[in-house]
């Protein structure tokens, strides 16, 4: 390895008054993640999640069946006067939807000209109203950032209380870290002009969450 690397490690160990690498991993609370102090939730996780999405300037629809996603999306487009041209993730949760035939739908990564993206979240975190999005063939990351309107479908079963719970779910269900994990809380914003919050800086101007309860 490089001389720089060697010297940095030598210096670190000298400062730590140690001359060799540790023989065994240090004992740390990370081996018992359950020890984290967790903020108490005021309500049940689903209600709390919805409140927090609103607080972060997102909007929420609650529907009872997966097939209702189409109607909820249609309503959303209608509310905002948007053309039905969408880029949709091929995530299993939303891949079987029967979109109206006249809508322009494409899958795959988002392109510069895509204005509306529909994706699926791996989990929702009640504590902060955060969506956990995992990248992959069925959930390209560009979809989370390029479109002006970001619509995210999440199953109520996947709403967890705290971020630690989402990590636990993730460790149980994926074998390797996806290339990108996005924790998304509300739409894009900036306060760089005189500390005034303005939504839609570089990423989505609006974030709409569709929660499926069944």
């Amino acid at each position: 390895m490089s001389a720089a690397r060697d010297e940095i490690f030598t210096r670190i160990r000298r400062s730590l008054r140690r001359d060799a690498p540790l023989a065994a991993p240090p004992a740390h609370r990370s081996q018992a993640p359950e020890s984290n102090v967790r903020p108490r939730l005021e309500k049940d996780p689903l209600e709390c999640f919805i409140d927090k999405v609103h607080a972060a300037a997102g909007t929420v629809d609650r529907i009872s069946a997966i097939s209702d996603v189409v109607q909820a999306t249609s309503d959303y487009l209608h509310r905002h006067g948007l053309e039905p041209r969408l880029v949709v993730a091929s995530h299993p949760l939303i891949s079987e939807l029967a979109w109206p035939a006249e809508w322009k739908i494409h899958a795959g990564p988002a392109r510069g000209e895509d204005h509306i993206g529909v994706g699926a979240a791996f989990a929702g975190v009640a504590e902060t109203g955060t969506l956990v999005m995992l990248s992959g063939a069925d959930n390209p990351t560009t979809l989370n950032f390029l479109p002006d309107d970001h619509i995210v479908v999440v199953s109520a079963l996947q709403i967890v209380a705290h971020l630690e719970d989402a990590w636990r779910l993730m460790r149980d269900s994926v074998t390797a870290m996806p290339r990108t994990v996005n924790l998304i809380t509300g739409p894009s914003r900036t306060a760089d002009v005189e500390q005034t919050i303005q939504l839609g800086a570089h990423g989505p101007r609006r974030l709409h969450v569709i929660v499926i309860e069944d």
Binding site: M1, A4, E7, I8, F9, R11, I12, R13, S15, L16, P21, P26, H28, S30, P33, N36, V37, R38, P39, R40, K52, A56, G108, P109, G112, E127, T128, T130, S135, G136, A137, P140, T141, T142, N144, F145, L146, L163, E164, M177, R179, T180, V181, N182, I184, T185, S188, R189, T190, A191, D192, V193, E194, Q195, T196, Q198, G200, A201, H202, G203
Partner: protein, 469 residues
């Protein structure tokens, strides 16, 4: 436009007279403070989480070599590469080597380490085109200025100034209309930068955390620029310093609970993004190459010495926002990359105390920074420790040292002290007693240029007390 740390006093005074700057600072002033206060009040567990965060960082620092090696191993396992740099120059060289010889379009997400190592200048010298994508960074790049705040780089700019800047700089894109409203300003920047995002070759971001468990780098942003910067170009380079590593995702979770609350008063920033290696075989987007450049630049020496605690810093900016000196003069007066309390500690350690003698002294030790620091860094104590070092190395002004010495001799001799002070107060009291104050006084111009000096009541307490009893 970058000032100089040796010119602090002059720059501070200029800043105090800069009406535009003062307008901008006045607008920012209360916002950060109030938002943080509310956010902390809404989290009853704040104190506990703060203690937990400190313990996590202390544990990591005590085993820093272990976690850095674990992090490196995980990055390699996920197909990324790790580069080590002892100094700023080595770090720039590492980045340039990754970018390659041909001139490239480089996008940058906000990164304080890249400011510290002077990366933009190095890339431009090498013939690359560099575009900052964070709106604040973009604004100051257009103005050819350094950031004046670690999380709000353009906090010193008024909206009018930004309007003028955009009009001058965006004409070449055919955008000739003068944008004055915040919404239009933001939209225009979005429009200009969007085309850059879609055509860049290399994206460079910083990292708020490096996670040893997974080999992930983490950025915390609100705009989404950092994400576009790192998923659209072919190559993603992360610049990060050694103390950014933490053991696990759960540890990151603890720190995230403090970071946004302390910085902007949000519970969570809009985008917290973990990047692990390059795109996978079946991914539809993401970079094909992933590099992490890990920079030491003096930090390994701080480990375990009297400035060790500073390595816990998560760059939230709360100490700046609550510093009355920073609030009065803004960030540029400090003359280097890191302003405010954290900068007054870090800058002398990075560029040499002899080059930044004012910074540890330009502070009233009022303690507000230490009080709000989510990582419980005793900033005032460290500033005082730097003063000890200045005194030991005789870096302070000879006249000030002389006065201090004379006072010290007197203060250690109570009898003599009482005689001298009784005399002084008697004289001052008799001259100033009727008016109650002095408008000016020889040897006291430092005091009297800004305020009157209240006159002594006439005799010292000690003398009156002895007389009465």
């Amino acid at each position: 436009m970058q000032g100089s740390t040796t010119e602090f006093k002059r720059q501070a005074e200029a800043a105090l007279h800069d009406a535009t700057l003062q307008r901008a600072m006045a607008k920012a002033k209360g916002g950060f403070v109030d938002k943080r206060r509310l956010a902390v009040a809404r989290l009853p567990e704040f104190a506990q989480i703060r203690a937990e965060a400190k313990a996590i960082k202390e544990h990591t620092l005590a085993h820093l070599d272990y976690y850095l090696e674990q992090f490196e191993r995980k990055v390699l396992e996920s197909g990324g590469r790790v580069h080590w740099a002892r100094t700023a120059d080595e770090a720039c060289a590492a980045v340039l080597a990754i970018i390659g010889a041909a001139s490239k379009q480089v996008l940058k997400g906000k990164s304080m380490v890249s400011e510290e190592i002077g990366l933009n200048a190095a890339m431009e010298r090498a013939g690359h085109t560099v575009v900052e994508t964070d709106l604040g960074e973009y604004i100051i790049q257009l103005a050819h200025e350094p950031p004046s705040h670690i999380i709000a780089p353009a906090v010193h700019k008024t909206r009018d100034q930004i309007t003028d800047l955009f009009q001058a700089e965006h004409e070449k894109y055919g955008l000739t209309e003068r944008v004055t409203e915040t919404e239009d300003i933001v939209n225009e920047a979005r429009q200009v930068l969007r085309t850059k995002f879609l055509s860049a070759d290399v994206g460079i971001t910083g990292a708020n955390f490096l996670i040893a468990e997974t080999g992930s780098t983490v950025i915390v942003t609100n705009e989404g620029n950092g994400d576009l910067t790192q998923i659209l170009p072919r190559t993603h380079i992360v610049t990060a310093s050694i103390e950014k590593v933490i053991p696990s995702l759960d540890d990151m979770t603890v720190l995230l609970r403090l970071l946004a609350r302390s910085a902007t008063g949000q519970e969570m920033s809009s985008y917290n993004t973990l990047s692990t290696g390059p795109r996978r075989a079946d991914d539809l987007d993401g970079p094909e190459e992933f590099h992490v450049v890990i920079v030491d630049n003096g930090r390994s020496d701080m480990l375990g010495n009297e400035f060790h605690d500073m390595l816990r810093c998560i760059r939230c900016g709360a100490c700046l926002n609550h510093c009355p000196v920073y609030g009065a003069i803004g960030g540029h007066a400090y003359g280097w990359v890191y302003p405010g309390p954290m900068g007054s500690v870090l800058t002398p350690l990075m560029i040499g105390l002899e080059n930044a003698r004012d910074l540890p002294n330009a502070c009233t030790l009022n303690g507000r920074c230490g009080e709000v620091c989510p990582m419980s860094i005793p900033l005032p104590d460290m500033l005082r420790t730097l003063r000890f070092k200045e005194h030991e190395r005789k870096l302070s002004k000879a006249r000030a040292r002389g006065a201090l010495k004379a006072w010290g001799l007197l203060a250690r001799r109570p009898r003599l002290y009482q005689v001298v002070t009784a005399l002084m107060t008697a004289v001052l009291g008799s001259i100033g007693g009727r008016a109650g104050r002095f408008r000016s006084l020889p040897l006291a111009s430092g005091w009297t240029q800004a305020r009157d000096l209240p006159a002594p009541q006439g005799a010292t307490f000690q003398r009156m007390w002895r007389r009465r009893r």
